[in-house]
């Protein structure tokens, strides 16, 4: 059998391993190792296994991931997320569907200091869902909106997926982060418009909240000060080239601790729990990257990646049509597996194709993140949906998935706008020179 055939068989075996519930990270490492041994020698396979684990676990660029996750965990433990929600609620809570809109605004704000969609959804779900229940919001709208708005966590910087994409494709993480700002704002607006549309058609879905005075509104603005300080101090420092991504993450984590202590919100127990939680998430992400790296080495010796890139390049279709197919592949793949795993697994094959077709790598990074956002809310493997199910145990999964649908349409519209007007994602990165 040719190496390319072995590579194709390897992909098939990997999919079977996923379906039979093997942890994704370990499945990629196992199949990658076996394929590498088959195509080379057992000694070479053993060496790839142990050295890749050693190299990835000790990778300095990857250390930005645990630090940004740590920053989000400490921000939650410091009560920053509740204050954000209170501010958004005070400003727009009295509108029809206002609590849901406030949740979306608060998710956008929290996304600016947290790089994970599940963390954003879980954090805001705990705060917003009981409030919406109190005001008789429909479960469909309440749960669907939090799950969808949580996905903003990976588009608005910082973002773990942008960090991984940047490392794997050798793109500037600062540029990727800033590229996510305008699409993040656009998507937040589209989500808010979606809520307005739903509540216009069915006013009972999102009744008005309590009225607040202008004095209360302005007084509530103190609730966003902490977020602005953290965002400007970390992501701002990264944008102007003052910090590396790892340094920005560390400053953010330390800043969140200082804010939590200054506001007397962060307890010793909260600090320890937040540290453990961040470590577990970071461990899961880095294991996925390590597994995908081992599988990627198998793909490289099988020469399948090069053959696939050459084949796609030779197709008699315009580049945009091929990009459309790539987006559909990611969308369908994201329905069935974790978005991070899907991206690290497929990028070594897809990215060379994207480059050969002449697309901007930063723009493609934003597209990838948008499709990953769809992946975290679509059935059957919508991670955010399961997170929301965990937070609001009494809402059936079907109801949450039903509630997701209008927001999925908004995500598709956002992706279409970014494809049609790439400048939305490439304008801000063009302003920074590193």
């Amino acid at each position: 059998m040719s190496p390319i055939t072995i590579g194709l068989i390897g992909i098939g075996v990997l999919l079977v391993a996923f379906i039979i519930r093997m942890p994704l990270a370990f499945a990629m490492a196992f199949v990658g190792f076996c394929g590498f041994v088959y195509l080379t020698t057992p000694e070479a396979g053993f060496s790839v296994l142990s050295r890749t684990i050693f190299e990835q676990f000790s990778s300095f660029p990857l250390s930005a991931i645990p630090l940004f996750i740590l920053m989000g965990s400490y921000a939650y433990a410091s009560g920053i997320s509740s204050k954000l929600y209170q501010t958004a609620y005070t400003w727009i809570g009295q509108l029809r569907g206002g609590l849901t809109m406030a949740t979306i605004v608060a998710c956008s704000g929290f996304a600016a200091i947290c790089g994970s969609s599940t963390a954003t959804a879980a954090t805001m779900g705990k705060i917003a869902l009981p409030e919406m229940k109190k005001y008789n919001y429909s479960d469909t709208l309440a749960a669907g909106s939090v799950a969808a708005a949580g996905s903003l966590g990976i588009l608005i910087p910082p973002s773990t997926i942008f960090i991984v994409y940047g490392i794997m494709t050798e793109q500037s993480i600062g540029k990727l982060f800033i590229a996510g700002v305008l699409p993040g704002i656009l998507l937040s607006l589209l989500f808010i418009l979606t809520v307005a549309f739903i509540c216009r058609r069915n006013p009972a879905a999102g009744p008005q909240g309590d009225h607040t005075s202008w004095r209360e509104k302005f007084a509530s603005l103190t609730g966003v000060v902490d977020t602005i300080i953290l965002f400007c101090g970390t992501i701002g420092g990264l944008f102007v080239g003052f910090f590396t991504p790892t340094q920005a993450g560390a400053v953010g984590a330390a800043g969140a601790i200082v804010i939590g202590l200054a506001r007397r919100q962060l307890t010793w127990q909260g600090f320890l729990e937040a540290s453990k939680d961040a470590l577990r998430t970071a461990c899961m992400v880095i294991c996925i990257i390590t597994g995908a790296t081992i599988f990627g080495k198998f793909m490289a010796v099988s020469t399948l990646t090069f053959a696939a890139a050459g084949w796609v390049e030779g197709l008699p279709f315009p580049p945009l049509a091929i990009m459309g197919v790539i987006i559909i592949i990611y969308f369908v793949g994201g329905c069935f597996m974790d978005s991070m795993a899907l991206i690290v697994l497929t990028l070594p094959v897809i990215f060379p194709i994207v480059q050969r077709l002449g697309f901007d790598p930063i723009w493609f990074g934003v597209i990838i993140v948008l499709v990953a956002e769809m992946g975290v809310i679509t059935p059957p493997v919508g991670t955010n949906v399961f997170v929301i199910k965990g937070v609001a145990g009494d809402i059936p999964l079907e109801t949450i998935f039903k509630g997701i649908f209008p927001f999925l349409v908004a995500l598709l519209v956002c992706a279409a706008i970014i494809v049609a007007f790439p400048k939305i994602s490439t304008f801000l990165p063009s302003l920074i020179s590193y």
Binding site: A17, F18, I19, I20, R21, M22, P23, L24, A25, F26, A29, F30, F33, F46, S47, L49, S50, R51, I53, F54, F57, S58, S59, F60, L62, S63, P66, L67, L70, F242, F243, T246, Q247, G249, A250, V251, A253, A254, L272, S275, K276, A278, L279, R280, T281, A282, C283, M284, I286, C287, I288, F336, M337, D338, A341, P380, V381, T383
Partner: protein, 168 residues
């Protein structure tokens, strides 16, 4: 029944051990954050960065991640595709789980073994990190040691799944 009790006790012990190892991981993570912050202040304010901070971060990350794998698995945070197996009958689930846990057990036995062999070879060649001149071999041994509880987790899962698969 006695075998089931033995597995329960063994699982509880492994959970305690893995939970203890996770604290070592937490310490590693906090070292990364602390060293990076000290390095920023040192390099930006006093123009004196921490010597070898990149190496220290890399090695702390090995400790953080390797020692967290076991407990992360115990609490189910390593992502799996759940939608297919969960719809199958109880016994079929047991048969499939026994197969997947056996494969994962084999992978982690390989990792324990080969990381130890890597440690031996790094020790024999005397390799050190590029800036701080820290020996590399203890960290390869650390990976080998830290994933032993992961092997035990999948061993217990394998035995449980086999029992589930053969139970009428």
């Amino acid at each position: 029944m006695r075998f089931g009790n033995f597995l329960n006790k063994f699982e509880r012990l492994n959970r305690v051990v893995s939970g203890g190892l996770e604290w070592i991981g937490v310490a590693g993570l906090l070292v990364i954050a602390a060293v990076t912050c000290i390095d920023i202040v040192g390099s930006k304010v006093f123009l004196r960065p921490v010597p070898g901070s990149v190496d220290i971060n890399g090695f702390s990350q090995i400790i953080a991640i390797a020692f967290a794998i076991a407990f992360t698995e115990i609490i189910g945070r390593h992502v799996r595709v759940e939608f297919f197996v969960s719809r199958l009958p109880w016994r079929a689930q047991g048969i499939i789980n026994s197969f997947t846990s056996l494969l994962t057990l084999a992978l982690f036995i390989l990792i324990v073994w080969r990381s130890f062999v890597l440690g031996l070879s790094l020790q024999a060649s005397g390799q050190v990190s590029s800036t701080a001149r820290i020996p590399l071999y203890p960290f390869a041994y650390a990976i080998s040691f830290a994933v032993i509880p992961v092997c035990l987790i999948f061993l217990v899962e394998f035995l449980r799944s086999v029992a589930q698969g053969i139970k009428r």
